[in-house]
């Protein structure tokens, strides 16, 4: 083996060490969260009211699940593994993109909040138009046509074909 191979070998080890260091902490963070979750779940399970007339009460399965999760989380805490590279690259998201995700989340929240108050057709039209425009679709004529036609079509299909009532809201239909 030449010197070159030796160096690359050492580099490889360093690289591995770096991976493990980063990942150990993420594994541990998730494990800690899951341990807390399983303890909360266990407390709630133990506090379930007993029912006298069955051999296996309603708390048996939840308690077993709680302990199982606790056990698995402890295993995860001590696990040193190399995570798939995909998972790593997935996590490296630029801040601006996170803001965009949060914004879309808020749009959806607003959509749900207004759905029954304002009505399906109006809210959906606004949502499709604003959301598509926000995500970078600038052809506003096509956008407007799609935004207006899709909800009307869906509303018609659902109410007359499937007999599923969608919120009518303020529109007099």
């Amino acid at each position: 083996m030449g010197n070159g191979a030796d160096v690359s070998h050492r580099f490889h080890l360093l690289y591995l060490g770096w991976w493990m260091k980063v990942l150990k902490t993420t594994n541990q963070k998730i494990a800690l969260f899951l341990i807390v979750l399983s303890i909360v779940y266990l407390i709630l399970s133990f506090r379930l009211p007993p029912f006298a007339y069955v051999p296996v009460d309603s708390d048996v399965v939840p308690i077993s699940l709680g302990f199982l999760l606790l056990f698995l989380s402890v295993l995860l805490f001590f696990k040193k593994d190399r995570e798939s590279e995909e998972g790593q690259s997935n996590r490296a998201i630029p801040k601006q993109e996170i803001l965009i995700l949060v914004a879309v989340l808020l749009f959806i929240l607003l959509y749900i909040f207004l759905l029954e108050r304002v009505g399906f057709i109006l809210v959906t039209t606004c949502f499709i138009f604003v959301c598509s425009w926000f995500l970078g679709y600038k052809k506003w004529v096509i956008n407007a046509v799609v935004s207006v036609l899709t909800p009307i079509l869906i509303y018609y299909l659902f109410t007359s074909f499937l007999q599923i009532e969608l919120p009518q809201g303020v529109l007099p239909i």
């Binding site: 999760l69 798939s84 998972g87 970078g136 799609v146």
Partner: protein
């Protein structure tokens, strides 16, 4: 011969005007949704659930089955044309499908995919015709302990076979099961984890979980990748295949349809494993294996055949045992329960018309798919040209309508959003979603069969050790959990041997 007789009754149902119509609707919708990057069979089935609400159960089942295998067909298009596999089942198709498209032979690749999907699906249905009733007859003798163990094996198998670490997958499954315990306990009437909310007393609807974890989580990925320049094929080229190419496809199609089917029957293993394994085995035994990865005909035929064979194979445990072995069939089971159909040996005995109707419809559906796909693929694949931002908004709207259309309250919509966020976070930290949804859907049934078993045995867990079938399945489940450990050691030893 009983199978043939049954099949004949099945064809009478499937060949009715309504039967043909709904199969056709099912396969078209399935193909369309399956083609959209990121949306696979799970989303396709889930968004169709409000549509089948209140429909005739047999016809609805015919249609849903069509959606299911139609989506398996459709996945190939975005792999070949955009190099953007929609779901993991379609990843192996990109290896040779995209190089072919780059050489201007996209049409050929799509034709190969359609033909091999047809062969995989059809051979799968033929095997299903004989496998499913046999298994159903065996399963009649199964009691709650056997059922509990079968479901447990499904969960351990999907956990050990899913990508990434087994512990992560098991945690996913456990948390999924925990969500299934929310609501009023059926046996004692005790409200569990409902926090006095009237919305939670009946538990969380599986549709909310499925659309959140799969479709909405995928929307997040779509948003992040919305600017990705997709190299689009302007000219698809001819769909015509030469005799030599057809001849080349024969071997892979013959082998992989059977192999794919068998993998599909196994719990936990599904289209992803079948398609990768199909690709790798064909590459290994091919004389011209260096052509693989550069646009080989076999490289497209093998994973597509295997994927469709396995998606049909997955119907065996679903129909004859009533136990799904994958995330997709779990959502399918949820859809069946919405229809009031409880699959399993009882379905085979008491409603043979439904049982055989579905199987018969799958023969017809596969033929439809071939006829539709071959000439129409260039036109259908136009759906891939929908601008990403518009597609994202529409998918979100469809998810919301899907949930609202069966629950009619906004509480479930907030839950849907919550599961979407959860699903995306799970992706970020590499926790697989399939064990979660499988455990969530099986949870109620598992708890019921566990408690029935323990009632039979007066609370003794020995019931699982004294019944031979239950014990065998238990041992198999434990073995399936140890499998990744040995696989790891074996790989490590190999790595050391190779000097890494």
């Amino acid at each position: 011969m009983e199978a043939l007789e049954g099949l004949l009754t099945g064809f009478q149902i499937a060949f009715s005007f309504h039967g043909i119509l709904f199969v056709l609707i099912g396969v078209v919708v399935g193909t369309l949704i399956g083609m959209i990057p990121g949306l696979g069979p799970i989303t396709a089935i889930a968004v169709m659930i409000p549509v089948i609400y209140g429909m005739d159960p047999t016809l609805a089942l015919l249609m849903m089955a069509g959606v299911y295998y139609g989506a398996a067909y459709g996945g190939a298009a975005s792999s070949i044309l955009l190099n953007a596999p929609g779901v993991s089942e379609a990843v192996a198709t990109t290896f040779d499908g995209y190089p072919m498209a780059q050489q201007g032979k996209a049409g050929k690749a799509l034709a190969i995919a359609a033909i091999s999907s047809f062969v995989g699906g059809t051979v799968g249905v033929i095997l299903l015709t004989f496998f499913a009733p046999t298994l159903a007859k065996v399963a009649v003798s199964f009691g709650p302990p056997e059922y509990f163990m079968l479901m447990l094996m499904g969960l351990t198998a999907i956990s050990s076979l899913s990508e990434g670490s087994t512990i992560r997958a098991l945690i996913s499954a456990t948390v999924g099961f925990m969500f299934a315990t929310i609501g009023i306990d059926a046996q004692t009437g005790t409200p569990r984890f409902t926090f006095d909310s009237p919305h939670l007393t009946e538990g969380i609807d599986f549709l909310v979980v499925a659309l959140g974890l799969f479709a909405l989580a995928e929307v997040c990925s779509l948003i992040l990748n919305r600017k990705e320049r997709l190299t689009d094929q302007k000219n698809i080229g001819s769909l015509h295949l030469t005799k030599k190419e057809l001849h080349e496809m024969k071997g892979p199609m013959g082998r992989q349809s059977i192999l794919g089917f068998l993998i599909g029957v196994l719990p936990g293993a599904g289209g992803t494993i079948a398609s990768f394994l199909g690709y790798l085995t064909e590459k290994r035994i091919a004389k011209n294996s260096d052509e693989f990865g550069k646009g080989s005909v076999k490289g497209v035929a093998a994973p597509e055949t295997a994927n469709n064979g396995s998606s049909t194979g997955a119907f065996v445990p679903l129909l004859s045992l009533g136990i799904p072995g994958s995330g997709t069939t779990a959502v399918m089971l949820g859809a069946l329960i919405v229809l009031g159909i409880q699959p399993g040996p009882m379905l085979y005995q008491q409603h043979p018309d439904v049982f055989w109707g579905v199987i018969a419809s799958m023969y017809i559906g596969n033929i439809f798919l071939l006829i539709l796909n071959l000439p129409l693929i260039p036109y259908i694949s136009k759906i891939l040209k929908i601008p990403r931002p518009l597609l994202i908004s529409l998918v979100i709207v469809f998810c919301i309508i899907g949930v609202y259309g069966i629950s009619f309250n906004t509480f479930d919509l907030y839950l849907l959003l919550g599961f979407g966020v959860l699903g995306y976070l799970m992706r970020l930290v590499s926790f697989p979603a399939a064990p979660f949804i499988l455990a969530f859907i099986l949870g109620g049934m598992m708890e019921q069969s566990l408690r029935q078993s323990l009632t039979i045995s007066n609370g003794s867990l020995m019931i699982f050790a004294t019944r031979p079938v239950a014990l065998t399945i238990l041992i198999l489940s434990i073995l399936s959990l140890l499998f990744p450990y040995f696989q790891n050691r074996w790989q490590k030893r190999n790595r050391i041997r190779q000097g890494l």
